[in-house]
């Protein structure tokens, strides 16, 4: 067995992902008990969640709206009339013995998720579409934990609304699969469809993986990988599975159609259920739930409250704000970050300031935030706009601006207040600057001599002394010009 790159010259992986996304609702999909993470076990239940005899489901309008938002964002066809179905299996975390899901009439079909990739080092942006087979609504199950001879069941998560996003087998590398996951994650967070917190299980991924010899049309036998719940695991688990299948095929064996569970700590997958156990879900339309209709008013509400999507936003940041792809990508990775920049540009009333503001965000703000959400920044977009405006209008130097920013972060005061209070205004008055320069020339005759003898690189030395003497307030451009003139002139 050689390395993966060599293997992939011969073998083509075919990957489809099924991602479960928790919809950001207050209450559960089919009843009014709260959704929440970290509550004491079984404290978020009611008769419907527990599947008590006589309890019935009633569907949450917010779950529908959020799923529709994702449907619209992915350009999916949305059924005017869809249906809930029951999917039957016995498992302790599944209270009713069936999951309410959708089967032959899903809410959305034939959409696509746009994955943005940089075309080479500085080439143009490239949009790639990963086609979706469907997006359907369903309810989550509870959680089992295993303790030796017994397992414990917590139903807090049972009944939480999910949408399942299923791609066509459109992905051909583990890296692409991970990139798709990132794009989907960003999309649902942008849309407010889900908080997408993977550690809380709000975004969970299963992958269908097969390989075939390049040039072949027929798909190979696929396996389903479950429990790959981080971007890193998606890539690792799929790479591992591709390698495993190729090894089997190259040894003349056959891949078995099975479900495998990814064990992240061991870095391997294991078959999940025994092969003789047939999975027959006995789907049928849920008689407790009449057909779900999506009318014009619902669609209008969804469309009119739709935020700008990440891919167009990234493109706009490059085009209108003149950012590099990488900078735009960083600033659009989180909707809150992008919104911050947009708000700052609006406050500045000057698109030309977008770039310096963006670099301030990237170099200063993100550094001091140190991973915390930007909503916690004491420096608001309006405050940033004012600060960068002061630099642009030569009131302060860029260097001073960094100190002012630190002071803003610490005190919450406005830039102008800090500049005035601390006397940080830039010195641009020519007479003042001239006398400062003359003083420096007078104090350093040796260096002046050297300079005049041809060592022009000493210019920076003189300017630096002026800056130091002025506590950094001297206008560096004017100072340099003056100093040059004075050194040459006398």
């Amino acid at each position: 067995m050689t390395d993966l790159a060599t293997v992939l010259e011969i073998w083509e992986p075919v990957i489809g992902l099924e991602v479960h996304i928790q919809l950001a609702t207050e209450s559960k999909a089919f009843s009014a008990s709260a959704t929440g993470f970290g509550a004491p076990p079984n404290s978020l239940t009611d008769p419907t969640v527990l599947g008590l005899p006589g309890a019935l489901p009633s569907f949450n309008v917010r779950a529908l709206e959020l799923a529709l938002r994702l449907g619209v964002a992915t350009g999916s066809k949305i059924r005017a009339r869809c249906r809930f179905a029951r999917k039957h299996y016995f498992y302790p975390d599944l209270p009713k013995g069936y999951q309410i899901s959708q089967y032959d009439e899903p809410l959305c079909e034939d959409g696509a998720v746009e994955v943005m990739v940089a075309g080479g080092a500085s080439g143009p942006l490239e949009r790639r579409k990963v086609r979706l087979q469907r997006i359907h609504l369903e309810e989550d199950a509870g959680k089992n934990t295993h303790h030796g001879t017994s397992s414990l069941v917590d139903l807090n998560r049972a009944g939480v609304p999910l949408c399942e996003v299923v791609t066509l087998p459109d992905l051909h590398s583990a890296a692409d699969a991970a990139e798709y996951m990132r794009a989907l994650h960003r999309l649902v967070r942008y849309l407010g469809v889900s908080e997408g917190d993977m550690e809380k299980g709000q975004l969970r991924c299963d992958a269908n993986v097969s390989v075939r010899r390049r040039g072949e049309d027929r798909l190979g036998t696929r396996t389903e990988l479950k429990n790959i719940n981080s971007f890193r695991f998606v890539q690792k688990a799929i790479e591992h599975e591709i390698g495993r299948q190729v090894r089997i095929l190259e040894d003349g064996g056959a891949v078995e159609r099975e479900t495998r569970l990814w064990d992240a700590s061991a870095g391997v997958s294991q078959p999940m259920r025994s092969k003789e156990e047939i999975a027959d879900y006995r789907y049928f339309p849920d008689p407790d739930l009449p057909p779900l209709t999506v009318d014009g008013a619902t669609m209008r509400k969804v469309i009119t409250t739709m935020p700008e999507l990440p891919a167009p936003k990234l493109e706009r940041f490059v085009r209108e704000y003149g950012l590099t792809f990488d900078d735009a990508a960083t600033l659009t990775a989180e909707r809150e970050l992008a919104d911050f920049l947009d708000a700052a540009v609006r406050a500045a009333g000057n698109g030309a300031l977008a770039r310096p503001m963006a670099s301030f965000m990237l170099n200063e703000l993100l550094r001091v935030l140190d991973g915390r959400p930007i909503g916690q920044s004491p420096v608001t977009p309006v405050a940033l706009a004012e600060l960068v405006g002061l630099v642009a209008s030569d009131v302060i130097s860029g260097k001073i601006a960094k100190d002012v920013f630190t002071s803003m972060w610490e005190t919450g005061d406005a830039a102008r207040v800090i500049v005035e209070r601390d006397g940080l205004r830039q010195i641009s008055d020519e007479a003042t600057l001239r006398s400062m320069c003359e003083q420096i020339i007078a104090d350093n005759p040796k260096q002046v001599e050297l300079y005049r003898a041809g060592k022009e690189s000493l210019l920076g030395f003189f300017v630096g002394l002026v800056m130091k003497a002025s506590d950094g307030k001297a206008n560096p451009g004017l100072t340099t010009e003056l100093m040059k003139k004075l050194l040459a002139g006398s």
Partner: protein
């Protein structure tokens, strides 16, 4: 005194309690002492809530004393089929798998009864999970027909019908999935009302077949049933299949008469195996309607013979699904087992009775991958044709008059095979499949002395017309008590 109260009926009891002629507590005590004295021989109750009933009655009396409106069912002593959940009161669906289960909530229908001033005496015997036509499938004990204790009261709401017939409850709630209110009402000589599907919330009705189940009243008169149905009917947001229509004004329809009404007799209901005395009684009911000014004609419901096969696909399929929740994890019976798979299979094998297992097996068979189209989907298509038959008939007539059952009550143990038993519902199933309202009213007795019932089937949501015709038939035939009030 106590027997007189026991047979006074819902409307009369509420009137007397509201007028302070009798206290709710006196009414409750009268029924409780009759139950204590007579129910041992009949087996209509699974649980009698002496303390709870007295407390509810006292609350009604206190409300009246305080000048509050005690509601249209003030002090009316009622009981509820054991498939309808009652907060704090053991509810088992007459199944071992739910032995000792105390629900933490009330069914909407029960909550509405309580809010209307009714007093809940206890839980009534029935076939396990409402699967049966004779009440012989109760896991706990048999229930007997007050007219002849060697005969079945019918089912599955057998206890609900027998208790009302024997004066052990002024009225009761039953559920009707394929005739389970109307058939026992006919066997016990009382009125049974299956409303339009969606009229009464199913929240808290332990599901048998979700697309067919409806809660409805059993009572001693059409007026009593109308009063109870008005109270429990109406939109409930917790049941997505409940219909957003105001409760029908049924009491107003009682005296409206049938002058000018067109009544259809479905040809197919008289062609097969129907007892001659039953057929004659139904025709006599038709004559009573004609005498009151209605017009009678024959109608055809050509898919009638497919109602039974369609039902025995749809109902078991939905039942198999609905009963998947009985797994021994969160409530009810659990078998001792070291391994989870064993725990499931043994719990369910021990907890469910043979009829329930049979239906789970049929339903599971019909829903298997590759079988859905040939069974469930096909049955739902045939169901659409059965509904179409009714739609076409209702273009010609306002209400349909038909026998409720092919024969009067049969003997305990008489129906030997499952199919023999299923055939006893042959006239009631189509009503559930079509979702239309059906009212069973007594139309006299056979020479054996056993009651005979006729049923009136109406357009969807048109319970009022059904009540108009029912009241006229009731006036012609009267309401009878079993010998010695069923206490003999």
């Amino acid at each position: 005194m106590s027997d007189e109260l026991a047979f006074a009926g819902v409307v009369e009891l509420a009137r007397r309690v509201r007028a302070k002629e009798v206290s709710a507590r006196e009414v409750a005590d009268a029924f409780l002492s009759r139950i204590d004295a007579h129910d041992g021989a009949l087996g209509t109750y699974l649980v009698v809530d002496h303390d709870g009933a007295r407390a509810q009655a006292d609350a009604v009396d206190a409300a009246i004393a305080g000048g509050a409106d005690p509601g249209p069912l003030a002090g009316v002593a009622m009981a509820v089929k054991d498939v309808i959940v009652t907060e704090g009161l053991v509810t088992t669906a007459a199944s071992k798998i739910l032995a000792g289960w105390v629900p933490p909530y009330d069914a909407t229908a029960v909550a509405r009864l309580r809010a209307a001033g009714a007093v809940i005496l206890g839980k009534l015997n029935c076939d396990e999970f409402a699967m049966g036509s004779s009440n012989e499938r109760s896991a706990w004990k048999p229930c007997r027909n007050p007219w002849d204790r060697d005969r079945v009261p019918g089912g599955s709401s057998g206890g609900s019908a027998a208790a009302v017939a024997a004066g052990l409850a002024a009225a009761s709630l039953g559920t009707d999935t394929g005739g389970s209110i109307r058939q026992p009402a006919a066997f016990c000589g009382v009125v049974g009302f299956k409303p339009t599907y969606g009229r009464v919330s199913r929240w808290g009705a332990i599901a048998f077949a979700s697309s067919l189940d409806q809660i409805g009243p059993l009572a001693r008169s059409v007026g009593d049933a109308a009063r109870v149905l008005e109270v429990i009917a109406g939109l409930d947001p917790r049941d997505s299949t409940s219909i957003d229509q105001p409760a029908p004004a049924l009491e107003a329809a009682l005296a409206a008469g049938v002058a000018g009404l067109k009544v259809g007799l479905p040809r197919e209901y008289f062609e097969g195996s129907i007892d001659a005395e039953v057929a004659a009684a139904v025709h006599a009911a038709g004559a009573a309607l004609v005498a009151a000014g209605a017009e009678l004609c024959e109608v055809s419901l050509p898919h009638t013979r497919y109602a039974l096969p369609a039902y025995y696909v749809i109902a078991p399929a939905e039942a198999a699904s609905n009963l998947a929740r009985y797994d021994g994890v969160r409530f009810g019976h659990r078998a001792t087992a070291r391994e989870l798979g064993d725990m499931y299979a043994t719990t369910r094998a021990e907890g469910f009775g043979p009829e329930v297992k049979r239906r789970i097996m049929i339903g599971t068979y019909a829903l298997r991958a590759g079988y859905y189209d040939a069974y469930y989907k096909k049955a739902q298509q045939v169901r659409a044709l059965i509904k179409r038959d009714f739609d076409q008939a209702f273009e010609l007539v306002d209400v349909i008059l038909a026998p409720t059952t092919p024969t009067p009550a049969f003997a305990i143990g008489e129906k030997a095979t499952p199919l023999d038993m299923y055939q006893t519902d042959v006239f009631t199933l189509a009503c559930n499949l079509a979702g239309i309202p059906g009212l069973a009213v007594p139309v006299g007795a056979a020479t054996s002395g056993l009651p005979i019932g006729a049923q009136l089937l109406g357009r969807p949501l048109d319970e009022a017309t059904v009540v108009r015709a029912g009241a006229v038939i009731e006036a012609a035939f009267g309401t009878k008590r079993p010998p010695a009030g069923g206490a003999a």
